[in-house]
Amino acid sequence: MSILQVENIKKSFDNVEVLKDISFTLNKGEVLSIIGSSGSGKTTLLRCLNFLEFAENGRIIVDDELLVDFALHDKQNDASLRQKRLNFGLVFQSFNLFPQYSILKNLTLAVELLDGVKKKDKEKIKEINQRALDLLKRVGLEDKVDAYPCQLSGGQQQRVAIARALMLSPKILCFDEPTSALDPELTGEVLRVIRELRDGNTTMIIVTHEMNFAKNVSDKVIFMADGIIEEEGTPTELFDNPKSERLKEFLSSSLKD
């Protein structure tokens, strides 16, 4: 059963087409990895899904419900857009935690604002805090609740960012090169968390340069080149039997480093 259908996404910046007709589907509980060389449009695609960019054309369907038809160019009112984007979560390459808040508050802030929780609503606050604690436990950081982002390593910050995204229970969790900003010895802990999420059947889209990880963790892989999907299939199909020349070239060059 497909949870996400992306149809004919087109996006250009200053008349340069960065996404040229991107379509794909994703089933519930599956992990999709997007690979491709720098500038191929991977980040832009994720940003379109999260409405950080507005595509010129295309449709996004979640759970058989049309979320948005970009062609109708309904820039939509803020409120409905906000509601819709909650279908997706996004974990950034650079974490983007809120530096002035404790780890706990980083997780709870958005939920509290969304639910309009008042200070005196002790019950509700306790419930939200408990959820945050549970998630921090899941990413192995329950002892950091009261710490501040600047006191954490990059790997820990990224795990907090993952927990923060999970607080809103998105149907599809997107990652944009979650380990690219990390020292090599810290990538493992983040990848482990993502692997555990997969085992817990979280639907995910992961843009990554970690080929081995993509191969091991994904149900499906998309190879992008110059704004198109050059090749897609199972990890075995793409990594062991690449068909297109560009993918072969890409794989041999990324295996080198």
């Binding site: 999260n50 983007n96 604002l113 995204a165």
Partner: protein
């Protein structure tokens, strides 16, 4: 002229400086924010008008601006400024708003785009992002330049004597006409004490934000 008498006289003058200082801050801090918004506006016209305004105000001496505000209404519109203090206040507020606006703008623009985007993908509204995510970070970043500017303001207030406001330096100069020079140097104590207090206050505020980096 006893020391105490001179002190009291200078203190009376300094109260003018303090008044001008306080009132200027009161109006120019919020006004500066509005101007900062203008200079970051999506509307080109508003943006360029505010930028031109800031250029003119920062590009001309405050003393000249005092003269303009004080004399121009009378010369051009035949409605002389009723009060010297009002004229001084207007000039100071305009001048300091322009400087503050640039500090605000610098602070706001220094916040990484990722902070806004993180708020957006978490479903926050624009105003929630500004007030809950960005504002505190902006304040932390602008405290040092603001302190600097505010301490400059303390001393700038004595420019008001150029339109004959009896502030502390004016008073002290009066003493020189009766052969007393030392009150002129004595005024430094008033400024030093005032600025010292402010420095302590700003250090305290900076410390408050020390608990995090970023």
């Amino acid at each position: 002229m006893s020391f105490v008498q001179v002190s009291l006289d200078l203190l009376e003058g300094f109260s003018q400086n303090c008044y001008l200082f306080g009132a200027t801050l009161l109006f120019s801090l919020p006004l500066g924010l509005i101007i900062a918004m203008g200079s970051m506006s999506k509307f080109k016209i508003i943006k360029y008008i505010t930028k031109a305004f800031v250029w003119v105000i920062r590009g001309t001496p405050l003393m000249l601006q005092l003269f303009v505000v004080f004399y121009v209404p009378g010369l051009v519109f035949k409605t002389p400024m009723s009060s010297r203090m009002t004229a001084a206040l207007i000039a100071f507020v305009i001048n300091y708003s322009a400087y503050f606006s640039e500090i605000y703008r610098g602070g706001i623009e220094s916040i990484p785009k990722g902070q806004y985007e993180a708020g957006q993908v978490l479903g926050m509204t624009k105003s929630q992002i500004f007030f809950k995510v960005v504002l505190m970070q902006v304040i932390k970043r602008i405290v040092p330049p603001m302190s600097n500017e505010i301490i400059t303001l303390v001393k700038d207030t004595s420019l008001a004597r150029s339109i004959a406001i009896y502030e502390i330096l004016m008073k002290a100069t009066d003493f020189t006409t009766v052969g007393l020079i030392w009150p002129l140097f004595y005024t430094a104590v008033f400024f030093l004490v005032f600025c010292g207090g402010l420095t302590l206050l700003f250090n305290f505020i900076e410390k408050k934000f020390d608990y995090y980096r970023g």
